[in-house]
Amino acid sequence: MTPDERERMADIERDEQWLRDHAPGTPGPGSLEHLKLQVRIAADESRLQGIPTVWVDPACVARVKRAVRDELAGRTAGAARSRFRRLLPLSIGGPLAAAAVVAIVVMVNRPTGPSAPQASYSALDALVEFAEESATDRADAMSLPNLDALEEEMLGFAWSPAAESGYDEAETETDRLYEKLRDELDSLKKPGTIMQAGEDYPWYAAGTFDLGSWSWPV
């Protein structure tokens, strides 16, 4: 231990002795344990002095402001999108809803002419793209049970570790759904598997899937 270190330790011990004599011994903020920790932290924090502060590029700030204005301008469009999502009586995420749309569109518009498969696959590609966009926007599209916890957490109403774990679970679940969706969309692209996909979504067959007035812009 260097002389400086010894001196610092002596300071800490003196401060802690003072705290033992004066601080409340009860747990919680202001307790002896907290104050002791703060003294020790303060002693070690000096090592971090002099670390450079990084500054954000003004061009980045300008981009952020532009994005904010775009988002504000796009609120109306966003609200319309949300209304569409509320039409889906599903308890699963948006990506799987997109898979259902794939199944419906393919079943309804099943190709009949010689050039029809090509047209149909283009529509599928567009739907795959939609599904991917939907997945990236999953925080909005998900209706998993723990999404509420995630939203509460993000809004600052809940700061609990449980909310955090809910958030992790939501993320994991969404990733899993997304991976599953990708596999299923791949299989949908193969002729002969379309009806199978329809059978995989009994809620569609039962007529519980209501697209409302929405139609896919193929």
């Binding site: 907290h34 002099g50 450079p52």
Partner: protein, 194 residues
């Protein structure tokens, strides 16, 4: 900024006033960026996350309940975005050199980095070595401890705010800081094996 002024600003932003959002960006962008930059180790990623953060603020602010904790709320979102990013890239973020030329030039220089006397080459070298050791030490810390130290030192948060951001009791935030700093000290004092 006074509490009343901030409350008014938040209310204006909540009403969708673009200039209020501009003011919030001006007010917090630097500190949030600094935190995201240190967390991700990438200027480009930190810039993307900063943009995403403020877009989320636009979406969530109408439902945000302002009780004087806007700063904690923003850093909470930043910490979540940073953690998500790290999870997505599935790697430990490379720590940026604390005193590299590119850092100083690209990131700008502030009063904190000129606080030390760097007027002689030997002091400069000594400081560089110390910063290098610190950088290695920070990179080796467990994530929660590193995050507390980042929030404390690169974002000027109080421990009460850090506890709120991390969703832990105050004692946990203090203990993490203490453990992290002690670990840091041990690592910096250990003889360099390389």
């Amino acid at each position: 900024m006074e509490v009343d002024e901030l409350t008014t600003l938040v209310e204006r932003a909540r009403q969708g006033e673009p200039s209020a959002y501009d003011a919030l960006v001006d007010l917090y962008a630097n500190r949030l960026f600094g935190f995201l930059f240190r967390m991700t180790g990438s200027r480009a990623d930190a810039e993307d996350l900063l943009q995403e953060l403020f877009v989320r603020v636009v979406r969530m602010l109408p439902r945000y309940e302002h009780r004087g904790n806007l700063e904690s709320w923003l850093f909470r979102i930043a910490a979540n975005l940073g953690r998500d990013h790290i999870r997505r890239v599935r790697r430990r973020p490379p720590m940026m050199p604390l005193l590299s030329d590119s850092d100083s030039e690209a990131a700008g220089t502030g009063p904190r980095e000129t606080a030390r006397d760097l007027d002689t080459p030997s002091r400069d070298l000594e400081h560089q070595e110390e910063a290098d050791a610190l950088q290695r030490g920070l990179a080796a810390l467990p994530e929660p401890e590193r995050e507390v130290i980042m929030l404390r030192h690169f974002s000027d948060m109080t421990f009460a705010q850090i506890a709120e951001i991390m969703g832990t009791p105050l004692g946990t935030a203090l203990a993490r800081a203490h453990r992290g700093l002690a670990r840091l000290r041990k690592q910096m004092e250990a003889p360099d094996d390389s």
